[in-house]
Symmetry: C2
Subunit: 203 residues, 2 copies
DNA sequence: AGTAGAAAACGACATGTGTTTTCTAAGTTA
DNA sequence: TAACTTAGAAAACACATGTCGTTTTCTACT
């Protein structure tokens, strides 16, 4: 049964997970995710196959951890700290998402034929964005928690969906031009205090 | 090699796929998706296991077809035809999404422990919503195609994400109260013509 | 420094996967 | 209706998956 990733003291655990994630990362540069077996991963990681299952339920869980960790690290490197209001941070988040898509999908050999790969990547990225947004929105405390959660979730999915669509387009705009478009889409989510104020819709 | 689902003449093919989808649907009322094997499905469907692979690459593809088909049918039953502007249709889409989550997740025995199940469901639902939105927005032709695609994708993900979060909450609001909240979130996506007009953001 | 408790390695096992080949039965076209 | 065409059944194959005990190794704490 896998143990939570945060606050792992034992260096062996950190080491093993590092090896597994590194192995998956490396293998994904060579072949698509659904052609990679757990065996391949554990061999490349020089770890016993059974050990894999002490840490992750399946290779999807490993992918999830890899993407979430990588994206979160990317945000951290850029000092992205969302404070609940500032559009600069929102802008940085969108740009980071663009970069992450470009980086991690162009390398991951060719287009994935099918399977559960893309949805999982997307969900992991959205979850990472969501965490950052919720953290920031809670600090500014402009709305009740349920509304914050819904708003942050919606915003994270909006960013992820928009960037995904942008990335899928043959001759896509420069990322800088996508940003204001996306920012406008998520603005209402990031300002939940206005939500109940304006009677924008009728019937 | 699977054949496209639309425009299938041969009744044998329709029958087999119907059986497979029905079997999966039925099995998911009994146990979680990741405990269901292709064998289980084909046995319940009285179809040979090899035949399964003539139609779907794996059980994830079958799930995708099931969800996409089911949700699209739900929208159609309610005569949801998005015309590109009308909030009534948007409202109906949100409500339908709520209902679909409630119906299909509460029955699917317990919470799924892990795996790629939820992301796939979500992606399939979002894709179905996206199709409806794009169809409608293209008719009204208020924006260039790339912008329509990005907007529709973002909106569909927003709806799906918000409803998912709403559904995950312990004591959730009534769906009717969620609707205006979500509508406000997706309004900018549904009105892409305003996108370049207002200088809402600076810095 | 020594020890209790943990995590890792290992081999083995039952089951599931995806594909291939051959054969039959059913649908489609003329 | 007959000839053509193709879906599906059945069985077998190599390989992957997930799980179990057991043994070994290492960490963390006294």
């Amino acid at each position: 049964m896998p143990i939570s990733d945060c606050e792992v003291r034992d260096p062996r655990i950190r080491r093993t997970r590092q090896l597994l994630q590194g192995a998956l990362k490396q293998l994904m540069d060579q072949k698509p995710f659904d052609e990679i077996s757990v065996q391949d991963i554990t061999e490349a990681a020089t770890v016993n196959r059974a050990t894999f299952y002490d840490h992750y339920n399946d290779k999807f869980a490993l992918l999830d951890a890899l993407v979430a960790g990588g994206f979160h690290k990317l945000l951290h490197e850029r000092n992205v700290i969302y404070d609940g209001t500032c559009p600069t941070a929102a802008r940085a988040i969108v740009l980071a998402t663009c970069d992450y898509f470009v980086e991690s999908r162009s390398s991951h050999s060719e287009c994935e034929r099918q399977g559960a790969f893309e949805p999982l990547m997307d969900a992991a990225i959205a979850a990472a964005i969501r965490r950052v947004l919720i953290e920031g929105m809670k600090k500014s405390g402009v709305a009740p928690e349920e509304v914050v959660n819904i708003s942050a979730t919606a915003a994270s999915w909006t960013v992820c969906g928009a960037v995904k669509e942008w990335f899928s387009q043959a001759d896509r705009l420069p990322a800088e031009e996508l940003v204001p478009l996306v920012l406008r889409l998520i603005l209402p989510s990031l300002q939940p205090e206005l939500t109940q104020a304006e009677p924008l819709l009728h019937g």
